[in-house]
């Protein structure tokens, strides 16, 4: 984790997202890139189409104000940390804001972003937009929940474990981060009796592999009444970071992310590290 890309569009230039980036960068001695994509959110919220015929979005008054706010936020967060950082403004004109963002994420070890509680785009849900980034970039992303007093801790990390390709990918991508946590657990929820042994075996192998990276991990299968999502959410609430594989099914043209992923993306119980 030597290059950490953090979303500083004004909606996200909140202390919690920046705090998470600064803490992680400090642990890894990483370079932080504060990314501001012109009108990414304007485009998502539909304002883009209203303004673009008249004013070039890069120079519109609101845009200039926001950009200045974003640069100020990243400077304020990093100026006294001794870490190397930069503010990067990327214009999306004339390409699609999502493509521009994804191209930037591919140039970083990890992308850190937040949840936009004011999301009001009917065409694209927020989890869909985040899903597109995870899928398109091929890089892991960390989503920091909306908590104004968020103070990153490195005590417990939980891995949602099902032995699948996506899940394993997330774990390997997270290795440089896992080593900073005092306690690491692989957690499955309500495993069928028939799958129990296979699940335990895959977990044991993963734990061995993590051990060779000097990460001590344990495995636990939680039996929960009610939905798996609820149980996983509870695990998240008690963790400082949660690692998840992002699952999706391709159904015709539509891309539907797995139920767990969508639920967690919509309101993360703790910072969530996702990859696929």
């Amino acid at each position: 984790m030597k290059t950490i890309l953090v979303d500083v569009t004004p909606f996200d230039a909140r202390d919690n997202v920046l705090n998470a980036a600064v803490a992680l960068a400090g642990k890894n001695d990483a370079h932080v890139v504060g990314l501001y994509v012109t009108h990414a959110r304007l485009a998502f919220t539909g304002l883009y189409s209203l303004t673009s015929p008249y004013i070039h979005p890069d120079t519109s008054a609101i845009e200039v104000t926001w950009r200045a706010k974003a640069e100020e936020a990243i400077t304020k967060a990093l100026a006294n940390t001794g870490l190397s950082y930069e503010f990067r403004h990327v214009s999306t004109i004339p390409s699609d804001p999502m493509d521009t963002l994804i191209a930037q994420v591919r140039l970083a070890d990890v992308f850190i972003t937040g949840i936009d509680t004011d999301w009001n785009d009917n065409a694209v849900s927020q989890s869909d937009a985040l899903g597109q980034i995870i899928e398109g970039a091929g890089r892991p992303i960390i989503i920091v929940p909306e908590k104004s007093d968020y103070n990153p801790k490195f005590d417990t990390v939980s891995i949602g474990w099902d032995g699948s390709r996506e899940c394993i990918r997330a774990v390997f991508d997270a290795i440089p981060i896992l080593r900073h946590y005092a306690q690491c657990s692989l957690i499955s929820v309500n495993v069928d009796r028939a799958d129990m042994d296979a699940r335990r075996q895959s977990a044991t192998r993963m734990i061995e592999t993590l051990g060779r990276h000097d990460i001590v991990a344990s495995y636990k299968n939680i039996k929960a009444h009610g939905s798996d999502i609820k149980a996983l959410r509870k695990v998240g609430e008690e963790s400082d970071l949660m690692i998840l594989g992002a699952y999706h099914h391709r159904r015709l043209r539509e891309r539907i992310f797995g139920g767990v992923t969508v639920s967690i993306l919509n309101s993360p119980p703790c910072p969530v590290f996702l990859s696929r």
């Binding site: 521009t100 140039l107 899928e135 390709r165 390997f172």
Partner: protein
């Protein structure tokens, strides 16, 4: 690169694969898992009552017979080298050995396999199984050409980049190997043809990001009249590379995996060992 899975198939020269694993293990302090899949029998349905009976068991019998020899050869090499190792073997339900390799590759940092060459070209079957392993395991795969006079090394490495998801995956998945290389060249064939490619800076951005991982890297955007596949192979040969890192492009259409043109070309005509990721 702390856990390496080496696929050991009795028809291959297993020393080629073991040499590569040993080279990496000495540099990274890795544990080596030697894995030999045993194929299942070919089954034939018999009516009334509907059951499956073994029809052709020759492959399975032959592999079973070879098992002790392969295991002994593996253990002897590992002991001589003083490396941490384990041997695994299990029986598959079909003739498709890739399935077993995929299952064991998933929890390994790197999976090492061979590409079967005939007359210099890698066979279509072999390309297909390598692609299968890369796509289904989600782990980087080191594919070694079977007919090579050179010992495996990763001193001089060429990394193919084109700003795509797969090339990002391959570049980041190979970071720990690249950090031990003497010279890494990032090659971008015809950046002007990529919609998101800013020709002026082409590979400079990703080269800077990789350099933060202590990788000695230079970027080299190349304009070439040929297609990406042949151009990448030519450049790797020109660089006298030991290793070529590429993203594996492909998707599955129903059961069939369809490889991208460049990936397929490079796998068919490998100039050296290839590290793939998807």
């Amino acid at each position: 690169m702390k856990t390496l899975l080496v696929a050991l198939l009795p028809d291959e020269d297993i020393d080629t694969s073991l040499d590569a694993a040993i080279t990496i293990a000495h540099k990274h302090g890795s544990h080596i898992i030697g894995y030999m899949p045993i194929p299942g029998p070919i089954l034939m349905p018999v009516a009334s009552p509907m059951t499956m009976v073994p029809f052709d068991d020759t492959m399975r019998t032959r592999f079973r017979e070879m098992l002790p020899t392969v295991k002994a050869a593996f253990e002897k090499r590992m002991t001589t080298e003083g490396l941490s190792f384990e041997f695994r073997s299990d029986e598959q339900t079909s003739l498709n050995l890739s399935l077993g390799i995929i299952a064991h590759a998933r929890t390994s940092d790197l999976c090492i396999v061979q590409m079967w060459q005939s007359g210099g070209k890698v066979t279509a079957d072999s390309v297909e199984s390598v692609a299968d392993i890369v796509m289904a395991s989600g782990r980087p795969v080191l594919a070694l050409p079977s007919q090579t006079s050179r010992a495996f090394a990763y001193e001089r490495v060429t990394v193919a980049w084109n700003a795509s998801r797969e090339s990002a995956r391959a570049a980041f998945d190979s970071v720990s190997l690249l950090s031990k290389a003497a010279e890494v060249e990032l090659v971008w064939i015809n950046p002007q043809d990529t919609p998101s490619g800013n020709v002026d800076i082409a590979g400079a951005e990703i080269a800077t990001v990789l350099a933060r991982h202590d990788i000695k890297i230079t970027d080299n955007p190349i304009s070439s009249p040929s297609k990406a596949g042949p151009a990448i192979v030519e450049q790797a040969i020109r660089n006298a590379s030991d290793l070529l890192v590429i993203g594996a492009y492909g998707h599955s259409r129903l059961r069939e995996r369809i490889l991208g043109g460049a990936t397929e070309y490079i796998l068919r005509n490998p100039p050296c060992a290839i590290l793939l990721s998807n």
